[in-house]
């Protein structure tokens, strides 16, 4: 038994039984819930007279609808207030811990789980949110589920799943200046396609992945789903353990850290693990990647020409033509120089402290271009607090950015933060679908956080490597 992947090992440890359908019933080690996809599941439990089976393994936060400007209650928008109240009621009844905004621990569900030490290697983690794959950065098996499955997990602590294949994505070499984790995953998706990962779990490995901090690994795992893979993971290593040791959970339970470490080490993929597929990517060849279209797979290097639809595979041509029409881009041009109206620095992909720090170094001493609306939405209240202490808030505000409270915000336009009309947005988020950011004519260009900062300053998509970094004096 020495040729198994982390996926095999974690799956086997959590397998309860095989169901009559052939699916396995898996025990869920951590169930994260939020206000948008859980209320209907609680409703279903009530209809069936069922209770929450493992409240201690369940944790709630509010992120999708929470206002990022005025958070006083009741929320200005009735629907948001109703969703929040419903969640409060549900967690109170069930005895589920809730990182609500009064705790100082609130934030995007995929930011707070790792922050608090809830996310750990070798756990199965589910949430009614497709970006649950983020937690795979810690060597957890983490995936998004729908509301009926949330009902299953609430009622039974388990989920019915079919086992997938594992594709190892080996990223060798070193990332160049200005190139980040976000560029790696955008490159992977543009190479393998938005459905290339269907039926697979992605294991990210290789020197370029191992040299990333946890935040970078999270950015990569986060967008696994954009490539069709429901889960993605990185094997746990010293970088992972250093992060964990500093979290609340293990500061409060240092003995647990030592006790669990052997388990974490044991779940890492074996050296001779067998994979269903292996893809290699050379990190040295990458440059900052930006999207030109309306799927996350439509990405190119910032200095590359936008492709001719006719030059793409037959099944991609129609989508490309429609995307280019929507985005108003011409084949042959580069995305550099594409004018933007909005710059959004936020989301579960790129709103952690190091993301904001890197972007601040670009912003420092510069000013947001005229007519550009630029905003920073920290991923959590803790990120926000530390960033404010470190002076990042001042840096951004002095440059002309709005500094907001934590939440999903303009990643998906469920609160007041939305694109208007046909505004173009340089965004550090994960989806450029038509209508995603709240306006059906809105145009989203995905990119890394430093590139968002550069676009905000220049008023157009800009190769950040041409904007020298400045020292953030207070950081």
């Amino acid at each position: 038994m020495s040729d198994r992947t982390l996926y095999d090992k974690v799956w086997d440890r959590h397998k309860v039984t095989t169901l009559p359908t052939g699916q396995d019933q898996l025990f869920v080690g951590l169930h994260l819930i939020h206000e948008v996809t859980s209320p209907q599941a609680f409703g279903m439990l009530r209809e069936r007279d069922l209770e929450v089976a493992y409240p201690d393994l369940t944790h709630a936060t509010v992120d999708h609808i929470v206002p990022t400007a005025d958070q006083s209650r009741p929320y200005e928008e009735d629907a948001a207030e109703e969703m929040m109240s419903e969640l409060e009621e549900n967690v109170r009844e069930a005895g589920i811990e809730f990182s609500d905004p009064t705790t100082g621990d609130q934030g995007i569900v995929h930011v707070i789980g790792p922050e608090q030490g809830l996310t750990q290697p070798g756990k199965t983690i589910v949430c009614g949110d497709s970006h649950t794959s983020t937690h795979g950065a810690f060597g957890a098996l983490a995936f998004g589920i729908g509301t009926s499955q949330i009902r299953d997990v609430l009622a039974t602590g388990t989920v019915a799943m079919e086992k997938q294949k594992v594709r190892k994505i080996q990223v060798d070499g070193e990332l160049g200046d200005g190139v980040e984790a976000k560029d790696v995953i955008l490159e992977i998706i543009s190479r393998l396609g938005t459905e290339g990962g269907v039926g697979y779990v992605y294991e990210y490995a290789g020197e370029a992945i191992e040299s990333l901090g946890m935040e970078g690994r999270m950015s990569i795992c986060n967008m696994s789903i954009e490539g069709g893979a429901r889960a993605g993971y990185v094997n746990p290593d010293e970088t992972t353990y250093e992060w964990l040791e500093e979290t609340d959970y293990f500061r409060e339970n240092p003995d647990e850290f030592e006790a669990l470490k052997p388990y974490w080490e044991s779940v890492a993929s074996d050296d001779d693990a067998e994979y269903d597929d292996i893809v290699r990517i050379d990190a040295d060849e990458l440059e900052p990647v930006v999207t030109w279209g309306t799927t996350p797979g439509q990405g190119i290097g910032v200095t590359d020409p936008i492709p001719e639809p006719e030059a793409l595979p037959a099944d991609k041509q129609d989508t490309a033509r429609r995307a280019q029409e929507h985005m108003r881009v011409e084949p042959g041009e580069t995305m550099a120089g594409y004018e933007i109206d909005v710059a959004f620095l936020g989301s579960c992909t790129n709103a952690r402290l190091p993301d904001l720090r890197r972007a601040a170094r670009i912003v420092e001493g510069r000013e947001v271009a005229d007519d550009v609306r630029a905003m920073v939405v920290p991923g959590s209240q803790r990120v926000q607090e530390t960033a404010e202490e470190d002076g990042l808030k001042d840096t951004f505000e002095e440059a002309g950015f709005e500094w907001r409270n934590a939440g999903c915000s303009m990643c998906l336009g469920m609160n007041e933060d939305q694109l208007e009309g046909d505004e173009a947005c340089a965004s550090s988020s994960n989806r450029n679908f038509v209508g995603r950011q709240g306006s059906k004519d809105g145009r989203t260009v995905l990119m890394n956080p430093r590139m968002v900062a550069a676009a905000a300053i220049e008023g157009e998509v800009t190769d950040v490597r041409e904007l020298p970094e400045t020292e953030v004096t207070t950081a």
Binding site: T147, L260, K316, R431
Partner: protein, 242 residues
Amino acid sequence: MSREDERSESSERASGRTSASDAEGREVRTDGGDEIEIPEVDYVSGSGLPIRGNDIDTDQIIPARFMKVVTFDGLGEFAFFDKRFTEADDLKDHPFNEDRFQDSSVMVVNSNFGCGSSREHAPQALMRWGIDAIIGESFAEIFAGNCLALGIPTVTADSETIRDLQDWVDENPDGELDIDIEDETVTYGERTIDVTVDDAQRKALVDGVWDTTALMKSNAGAADETARDLPYVGDAAGSSAD
């Protein structure tokens, strides 16, 4: 009467309320534990409608602004909303707006349908509009899983077969499509074509075990045991074995 009301039976079936689905002639089965009846879905018939295009994401199927609700009721009218209506609420060209497709219940789609978010609001909206089954080139995984949890088959075939089927449906909006889940075939006009239904999905639909709550609840003892063996849970497992 709105389409959603007419289709309330199927909504109730899938939202897990006790259903009267045997009125449709389908067998029902009661799972032990609670009293939820889960119909066997071995056959779906109805006229079709083509929804063309690859990578149709869940933000298109149900824009996020319609998700500020605490139930799934009433989502049917918002299916494909931004594809169907202009800013001024005028109708756009979309199959969901065409009179000839108003009674259709089988959607024929292309590749990577339902990609993006995990929102069950997407299949819930389609189901509440009146969709009972989807045939396509391929489906995003979470979307297909969400459909299965509602008893909606997601059946696949190659792109040429799908294009032929979309053209036929376009020309024969009243033509009946018969999906045989167990035999993995679709019959339309004079033709019967082979399609693929994922093994677990087929078994779940045909045997009426696509709603897994009661089934998994019956294994509560084994789940507790699995939990106790996990080093990070151990004795801390709040026991669910009741």
